[in-house]
């Protein structure tokens, strides 16, 4: 039965044209990132971290897009899959059938995780292809928060860790928006609170260095406090993690993800649906 529920949810996800548009948007956003990279390369040296080559474009473009395009896509997915279905009646047909609401929630969550993974995977493939075709070929590349130039193997290892934390940060951000989507009664409410959450994160990121002005940026205390901000992790934390400076961002993302997933689960399975 769970397999059927999963396929049922997966099909529903792809019935929504806006979700399909989000996947197509990855191509466009990658193209814009490529345009920006070609522009930046004119004034940068190959040893500069801002220089995009065939070896590092999939990392630099992801870093640029994570906070903006990817978060926007996650907000869209959550609004359509949770808010719209929960509040506008699409789930009524499912809820009035003899199926487990807990299993339905798990199926929805897995479909969401799978589609965010596909978004990241498509981004990786497209950016690698764009880089191979349009950017200078390189055998070594600089990496975020690391001195010197690194070989292909080093870049691959860095990329895997970077992508894992980027994926986890999107899941965590998604779990927060999912909770808001279930609790808010209108789309305006979800959007307003989501943007409010992003704004608060940005204020927090700006506030931490002021409070800890006597500490270095990479001091463990500063990083620990910064680790509760998903935006900070998307901007810098994933690179700190990939550069093996600290693992605190991995743990904080897992904890925040589990907290908001549990809250969403309780809200979703509340027996007062539609009250």
């Amino acid at each position: 039965m769970f397999k059927s529920l999963f396929i049922y949810e997966f099909e529903k996800f792809w019935f929504k044209k806006i979700n399909v548009v989000c996947f197509i948007a990855i191509l466009i956003v990658n193209f814009l990132a490529l345009k920006f990279a070609l522009q930046s390369n004119k004034t940068a040296e190959m040893t500069d971290i801002v220089f995009s080559s065939s070896l590092n474009f999939h990392i630099t473009s992801l870093q640029e897009m994570l906070i903006t395009a990817f978060n926007a896509i996650v907000i869209t997915f959550c609004i359509l899959s949770f808010h719209e279905e929960y509040r506008k009646g699409y789930l009524r047909m499912t809820f009035t059938r003899g199926i487990s609401i807990s299993k339905l929630y798990i199926a929805k969550s897995l479909v969401m995780c799978l589609n965010i993974f596909l978004i990241i995977l498509i981004h990786c493939i497209v950016s690698l292809l764009f880089a191979l075709i349009f950017l200078p070929k390189a055998n070594v590349s600089p990496l975020f928060f690391k001195e010197g130039l690194y070989s292909v193997i080093d870049v691959i290892l860095f990329s895997i860790k970077y992508y894992i934390l980027a994926y986890l940060s999107l899941l965590t951000f998604g779990s927060i928006i999912e909770f808001l989507s279930i609790k808010c009664k209108s789309i305006a409410g979800v959007l307003g609170l989501s943007l409010g959450f992003v704004f608060l994160n940005i204020v927090y990121i700006a506030y931490v260095p002021i409070v800890f002005k006597n500490y270095a940026d990479s001091d463990p205390i500063v990083l620990n406090y910064s680790s509760i901000s998903t935006m900070f992790i998307q901007a810098k934390g994933a690179a700190y993690f990939a550069a093996e400076i600290t693992d605190v961002f991995l743990y904080s993302m897992i904890i925040i993800f589990l907290i908001f997933k549990s809250l969403s689960y309780l809200a979703f399975t509340n027996k007062h649906y539609l009250e």
Partner: protein, 241 residues
């Protein structure tokens, strides 16, 4: 005869207002039961409780002898329902909507699920229009597609909340004939709320009248309409006075 729905001392308070007050009634197998009351009487609230969408503050609702609150999955396994309005993905076909929902039919393999979709499309008279996008359907067709959705899991009872709302006379006649044929052919019990008393009078063998969350009258159509001088509308107005 066997009770299909048993509502026992059910009460519900919403926003500090008592919407349902100590309501008790039974619906027997094969009944087509009209659930009648003015706006705000609590009809939709009771139907939402019967389909597990909200829970009562007191009392219990049993479907085929199983408490909806205690064993929701089992109790609702034989229920088809349209609460408020049928909801679809408008920009895909009616057939695709049904094929997607049919995935929830446990105990059927995919081939059986697809056969079931064709069977219900045939039953509601939408087989030829099954590949049209739902957004191009008339209100009557959407209502019939909603009934097709509710029939997908071979229900023993179908709960319809205001199914005739917005339908033109032809749509209402089609719906009426569909309900009567399903009740006759498959012995499906229907529990229908509506404001359209003429329509109910043509199909129901049992009525439940409610006002402000309380039952005003429950019984067979024959005993209610014994006085040939009065039609259902006049009886309704007398009861609500």
């Amino acid at each position: 005869m066997k009770s299909i729905i048993e509502v026992q001392n059910v009460s519900k308070t919403l926003n500090k207002r008592k919407v349902i007050q100590n309501m008790t009634f039974n619906i027997m197998k094969g009944d087509i039961c009209g659930f009648i009351g003015p706006n705000g009487a609590g009809k939709t609230t009771l139907m939402k409780m019967a389909t597990g969408l909200i829970k009562p503050n007191d009392g219990e609702i049993l479907i085929n002898g199983i408490d909806v609150q205690k064993d929701r999955e089992k109790a609702l396994s034989g229920v088809g329902a349209i609460i408020e309005v049928p909801v679809f993905f408008e920009y895909i076909s009616g057939r695709k909507n049904l094929r997607n929902l049919a995935r929830l039919n446990s105990g059927m393999d995919r081939k059986e699920q697809l056969n079931k979709v064709e069977e219900v499309l045939e039953l509601v008279g939408l087989k030829d229009r099954g590949n049209d996008l739902v957004k191009n359907y008339s209100l009557g067709m959407k209502q019939r597609l909603g009934i097709a959705q509710s029939l997908l899991n071979n229900p023993s009872i179908v709960i319809l909340d205001e199914p005739s709302n917005g339908l033109d006379p032809v749509g209402m006649k089609d719906l009426r004939e569909l309900i009567l044929s399903l009740a006759k052919k498959f012995e499906i019990t229907f529990f229908i709320s509506s404001h359209l008393l003429d329509e109910l009078q043509k199909i129901c063998n049992k009525y439940i009248f409610i006002k402000e969350g309380c039952i005003k009258w429950v019984g067979d159509a024959d005993s209610l309409l014994m006085d040939k001088e009065k039609d259902l509308e006049e009886i309704f107005l007398d009861l609500m006075a």
